[in-house]
């Protein structure tokens, strides 16, 4: 089946990564939403990327604060 805005997982994964660093254009956001309707793998990939984003935020905090009680 072919439809407009059809993307492969490889292309959608690239968009999911790109939105960590730039604002996506409307057709790109739409392509992700459409793809998610028919794909179970890419939503998982997006969840991993989100987890990674949160982990990096906590790592930044961890590397800059005295959160180790044995050291304060």
């Amino acid at each position: 089946m072919n439809y407009p805005l059809r993307r492969t997982c490889r292309e959608v994964a690239a968009l999911i990564l790109a939105r960590e660093d730039r604002a996506l254009a409307f057709p790109e956001r739409l392509a992700i939403r459409i793809h998610f309707l028919v794909c179970k793998a890419c939503p998982n990939f997006a969840q991993e990327v989100r987890t990674l984003r949160h982990a990096l935020g906590r790592w930044r905090h961890y590397s800059e604060h005295d959160n180790d009680p044995s050291q304060s």
């Binding site: 492969t8 990564l17 890419c42 987890t51 990674l52 982990a55 590397s63 800059e64």
Partner: protein, 210 residues
């Protein structure tokens, strides 16, 4: 109006008595910043990927801390203040070494993408969902793995990624600092994130018993 300002200033001066930190002797300050040196060096090296440059950035930081102790208001944490200074010194090093760093680029093309995706564009391995570690000990171990994975990113790709995620620069700022195109920055960030994902999958999330 002017009078009010002067009063305000004078009051302000008076209202900020020497905090415990400013009362610290220089020796005590030196001890505290010296204790942070391993952390500072680790962070600097993660960003700069060159031990000599990292040592320069850390020395500059220590000097700035000792000279500028009055800038520390005692309200923010000491470590937060010092790491903030380190970030500026590390960025100075990046500017200074920008030309040399360019030669560090590795060009592995789309190799990893080709491993992750089949020729028809599907994932070869179905992505899992990831749970982040809950308790503190696990979290610390996780951060060690995360740092090791970031450290394993190749030269310039690693620098660009850390500029984005540690120095928290946007891609425009990274373009300007490194004098490369935004497409180039986005490509490097894409590769960095793919590699990091693979590394974490392999060394943390993929291992069943932790």
């Amino acid at each position: 109006m002017q009078q009010a300002c002067i009063t305000h200033l004078a009051l302000d001066d008076f209202a900020s008595p020497m905090s415990a930190e400013t009362a610290d002797t220089l020796a005590e300050l030196h001890r505290r910043v010296e204790a942070l040196r391993p952390t500072l060096l680790r962070l600097a090296q993660l960003q700069l990927r060159n031990l000599a440059w990292a040592e320069d950035a850390v020395s500059e930081t220590m000097l700035a801390v000792l000279e500028g102790a009055s800038g520390f208001n005692g309200k923010s944490q000491f470590k937060t203040w010092v790491v903030g200074i380190l970030k500026h010194k590390v960025l100075d090093q990046l500017r200074l070494r920008q030309r040399e760093a360019q030669y560090d680029t590795d060009d592995d093309g789309e190799v990893l993408d080709d491993l992750v995706f089949a020729p028809d564009g599907h994932f070869r391995n179905f992505p899992q969902t990831w749970d982040t570690p809950a308790d503190a000990l696990q979290q610390r171990q996780f951060f060690e793995v995360l740092e090791a994975c970031m450290d394993a990113l190749p030269g310039q790709i690693g620098r660009v990624f850390l500029m984005r995620e540690w120095l928290e620069l946007d891609t425009d700022a990274i373009c300007q600092e490194l004098r490369i195109s935004s497409t180039n920055v986005w490509t490097m960030l894409h590769r960095a994130r793919m590699r990091l994902r693979e590394c974490l999958q392999l060394n943390w999330f993929g291992t069943p018993a932790k």
